[in-house]
Symmetry: C2
Subunit: 303 residues, 2 copies
């Protein structure tokens, strides 16, 4: 087996993020009527770490998949993530007025436009996945829509948010907490990895093995992301986080830290990182360095 | 050409609606977490005329298309319609407390759950279109997702709602009013017809001709629906309509009646019905009786 050269996540990310930002700016039309396009662009452009798009692109790189499909999938998952933040921030949900240092969409454009912009972003995600330009085979389009719809919906992100709503001030077991996070943040992170893997064109046994391993990788980092989020809510400071630290405790929200304690939560995050690495080692793909580096970055991030 | 027997729209609709209601009840799981499934079912089941599903099924009948695909498409467009009503009724939009004689979703379940239920219904629409059971070919799934995403999003329903928001109290030209309605209600009605047509398996010249003609039919009845809505808002009574008559004028909303007057609006609806019939006559399909009867029903309805 050839030794691969050291991997520079920063350079890899910069190159891919450039493509993602350009594509998002091109595909979210400012011409959306009634100010809708402007609100949609405000919600998505110039913000966020773009973890989900990077996971899509890293998984596609690993399987040697269709780069046009992966770029569309990367933008589509980011649109779903962005719409969920717009709706989450609304007065009837978390009532947040600032995000990434800017007024939230409903503060800037009004509640009704925020609601519609979120709705339109969700639809646009599926529009991006179904181009007519021949760049993505129809069968691949169907698989990508399938994965995204499931990751976003009642048995994914929206379902997790509903559990979250229903669980404020309720004692949760670790199993219930894990289920909430598996859906609320894990489903879309895992979905990102699976969408990247679905851009492969190898539908043989090797492709199926890789897909199963990447699914396991996605589940592990999806959960790790949330465990680290809970740790940072306690240990981080608001300036580094870019959001209010200590918010979970203030809202009496169940977290891994409140349930397991800080040290056990850190050990759990490390164990999940080990699981993610193990899945990559077993996937049979030659180059999973970007995925490995992203898993490290998720667990060792400071914000 | 063989003479077709008289067509009984009522019997045809009853049979198809039965299938649609059963499928919706089966496909919207009550198990959606955090009360989400219950709210989603409340928003969709036992209500509405199901015009959009009937258009899907009538178009599929006309082209002799895949009935499994058509049933899924019929339910998917209804989910999009239902989610738009849930969000429209919310306090930050129309603030309606009653729909079809029942408390609206946000009154019954709270604003946050209504927001999430609408979001999850949109995702579920795309989930229904992308089954893994082999009942719908992947390429057809992709086309259906494409049509639905475009009909629902910024250049369709959501865009039309944004224009509507921005136009209250504003003078609109007839062209602007038509554009608003083409998007707000027309896009999903036309999309329903096109999704039904997309269930065909004939991709030859005859299929393309039929598709183009049905697209024109869909545009005509989409607009006719709204013109008749505006007429009924003036001439109907609240009991028959199942909603408050005279609401448009009370909210100073531009309508066809306020712009053209009542008689010219009636003539316009008839002209659009003629256009729809003309498109059917030109489509080259043997049996378009259900589509013709639905066009009549849209224009001559009393509620």
């Amino acid at each position: 087996m050839t030794e691969l050269p050291p991997f520079d996540l920063r350079a890899w990310s910069a190159r891919h993020l450039d493509a993602v930002e350009q594509a998002l700016a091109r595909w979210i039309s400012p011409a959306g009527p009634g100010g809708l396009g402007e609100a949609m662009r405000y919600a998505v452009l110039d913000g966020g770490k773009r973890l989900r798009p990077l996971l899509v692109l890293a998984a596609c790189d690993a399987v040697g998949g269709n780069p046009n499909a992966a770029l569309r999938a990367a933008c589509a998952v980011e649109l779903i993530h962005a719409y969920s933040l717009v709706h989450d921030d609304m007065p009837c949900m978390d009532n947040d007025v600032l995000r990434r240092g800017k007024p939230t969409v409903h503060v800037k454009f009004g509640d009704a436009t925020a609601l519609l912009a979120g709705d339109a972003l969700q639809a646009l995600a599926f529009e991006l996945l179904t181009p007519t330009d021949g760049s993505v085979p129809d069968a691949m389009q169907a698989v990508l829509c399938r994965l995204l719809a499931r990751a976003a919906g009642h048995d994914g992100m929206a379902g997790g948010q509903a559990i979250d709503l229903a669980s404020v001030g309720q004692p949760l077991s670790e199993a219930q907490l894990r289920e909430m996070h598996r859906l609320k943040t894990g489903a879309l992170l895992q979905g990102s990895v699976m969408m990247g893997a679905a851009c492969q064109t190898d539908h043989g046994a090797a492709g199926a093995l890789a897909e199963a391993a990447l699914k396991e990788y996605g589940a592990a980092i999806g959960l790790a992301f949330q465990v680290v989020d809970d740790i940072l809510d306690v240990t981080g400071d608001s300036a580094t986080l870019g959001k209010t630290a200590g918010k979970d405790a203030a809202h009496d929200k169940p977290t891994y830290v409140s349930l397991l304690g800080l040290e056990a939560s850190r050990a759990y995050a490390q164990a999940l990182l080990g699981q993610a690495r193990g899945a990559l080692a077993a996937c049979g793909l030659a180059d999973t360095r970007a995925l490995a580096a992203l898993a490290d970055a998720v667990v060792h991030r400071a914000s």
